[in-house]
């Protein structure tokens, strides 16, 4: 088995601030994902990466950057936090890009 760790669990920032969320997995999976989940809604894909140093834009990439410098870690940066993007950010990984995904517990973002 393995685990996905997301840090921090809770992130509070000011409007306009640059904020970074981190994700680590020890499954040795190739593919990693970042999703945004607004309250009571489904998941929207922000970025994904099929291997180290690869980045692919999802449906909601505007306003975000991502970085995959190691196979085990995938970071997401909110370039300028806005109040309308308060949500839970979920990281996931999979052995290949169509296969089942394993999820972390999420980072809850609050923008003041």
């Amino acid at each position: 088995g393995g685990i996905i760790t997301q840090t921090p669990k809770f992130l509070i920032g000011q409007e306009g601030q640059k904020l970074t969320l981190k994700c680590q997995q020890n499954f040795n999976h190739d593919t990693m994902y970042w999703y945004r989940q607004d309250s009571g809604k489904g998941l929207r894909l922000i970025y994904y990466s099929i291997t180290e140093n690869d980045l692919q834009k999802g449906d909601l990439s505007e306003g975000y950057d991502a970085s995959r410098e190691k196979k085990s870690s995938f970071s997401l940066t909110v370039t300028s936090a806005q109040k309308n993007e308060m949500a839970v950010f979920l990281c996931a990984s999979s052995i290949a890009d169509r296969e089942e995904q394993y999820f972390g517990p999420g980072t809850r973002l609050t923008v003041l």
Binding site: I4, K41, G42, L43, I50, A92, R98, E99, Q101, P105
Partner: protein, 113 residues
């Protein structure tokens, strides 16, 4: 591109009753199909998946789902629900064409004692 529709935003059932959560997908080929569950303040956990073969797949905790290609459906079923099954359930589909998984909006299941 593929998509997933979960027509019921919220389903309420009594403990011990049977359950069906509906899912329809849009994709012309043969998809990979998934059901995930999300408990409060947690990430998603896989309940079951369909890749090929027997269209009825068994998952954890007594859940099963049936792939019906002619209807583009993958409904989730359970014979007898427990209060601990209260959660949000997501149906998802992936395809060869773009190597991604698309999620439905989820169905909130409330199990009444």
């Amino acid at each position: 591109a593929q998509s997933v529709t979960q027509p019921d935003a919220r389903v309420t059932v009594s403990e011990g009753a049977s359950l069906q959560l509906r899912c329809k997908y849009s994709y012309s080929g043969t998809p990979y199909l998934f059901w995930y569950v999300q408990y409060p303040r947690q990430g998603l956990q896989l309940l079951l998946k369909y890749y090929s073969g027997d269209p009825v797949v068994q998952g954890v905790n007594g859940f099963e789902a049936e792939f019906i290609k002619s209807n583009s459906s993958f409904h989730l079923r359970k014979a007898s629900v427990h209060w601990s099954d209260s959660a949000v359930y997501f149906c998802a589909v992936s395809a060869h064409s773009n190597n991604r998984i698309f999620f439905g909006d989820g169905t909130q299941l409330v199990v009444k004692p």
